[in-house]
Symmetry: C2
Subunit: 182 residues, 2 copies
């Protein structure tokens, strides 16, 4: 951030009265520019003993596999955003069962909200952000070709406990390395 | 948003190539300025048959009651943000039990993540954003003096089902009116 989105002056980054941490702020119009984490919402679409994955056609992680997910937009509910992304990336119609996992990426400033969902049929296919969309049994999952740690976390929890009631919502976090999930 | 935070030029709002909706964008440096919902994280601190509420010392909703909660910051996990807000607003040390409710405010562009938490002791008191902090039994809750619908929703679900395993995570949404929660 270089300029104030309100008045166009140069912004400074540092201590601001009444704020407990350094912020971008404008010394001309006194606006404090907060930067907050973004939500990524998506679905874990299931069909019998299979899950639906998308091969990414875009960066980052082009060619790797992911669950349909993307940034929540203003004006939509989290679950509606997850449905929208599932249509956009996989042309798949699903019915949301429940919130399944919440995964923090504090260093990136992202929180994933992933919803367990029932695929309504086998009529799906790649949207413009996907190269390929297909169903995988547990033993077929390309674990070493996962695009994002949040996706790997969500799939691991699903195949460990399935949709058992004890599952509640799994909370995960990427702290440093890919494999650190606590 | 009037000016580009990258180059300081005037921004436009409208159609942008590759985007599925109107966005703020800069015609000078080609930056698209996404606006995404914010997360508000907080706790529902419980002690025996009581819950801890804070009377707001700030706007909006000065003088009304709320659960300790505030904007998630970049660099922190959702649950750590909830703990921080609980200390800031109520000087209360709690232990988080689990994610309890997720509440969408799509028209405002906010999603609440509220965590059920166990109060670690009775040593608490108002932080600078609170006029008063106290424990309430269910029958003492000032329902008509609640600051936010997400707080009312969270308390209602708690007193309906308590911390039963069947509870999982309650999903709520403010669509139009205060009392519409579906």
């Amino acid at each position: 951030m270089n300029f104030c989105s309100n008045c166009g002056s140069k912004v400074a980054f540092g201590e601001v009265p009444e704020e407990d941490r350094p912020r971008y702020h404008c010394e001309n119009c006194d606006t404090v520019h907060y930067q907050n984490p973004n939500m990524i919402v998506g679905c874990l679409p299931v069909w019998e003993d299979k899950v639906l994955l998308c091969k990414r056609a875009i960066e980052p992680r082009h060619g790797l596999w992911t669950l349909p997910a993307g940034f929540l937009e203003i004006g939509e509910k989290a679950c509606d955003g997850a449905l929208r992304e599932t249509i956009e990336e996989a042309n798949a119609n699903v019915e949301i069962i429940r919130l399944f996992s919440v995964y923090d990426l504090p260093t990136v400033g992202q929180v994933y909200l992933m919803f367990l969902a029932r695929l309504n049929g086998l009529d799906f296919g790649p949207g413009k952000e996907s190269l390929e969309v297909r169903l995988f049994r547990q033993e077929e999952i390309p674990w070493d070709k996962m695009a994002f740690s949040a996706v790997k976390f969500t799939l691991e929890r699903y195949f460990e406990l399935g949709d058992s009631p004890q599952a509640a919502v799994f909370m995960g976090c990427l702290t440093r390395t890919w494999d650190n999930k606590s």
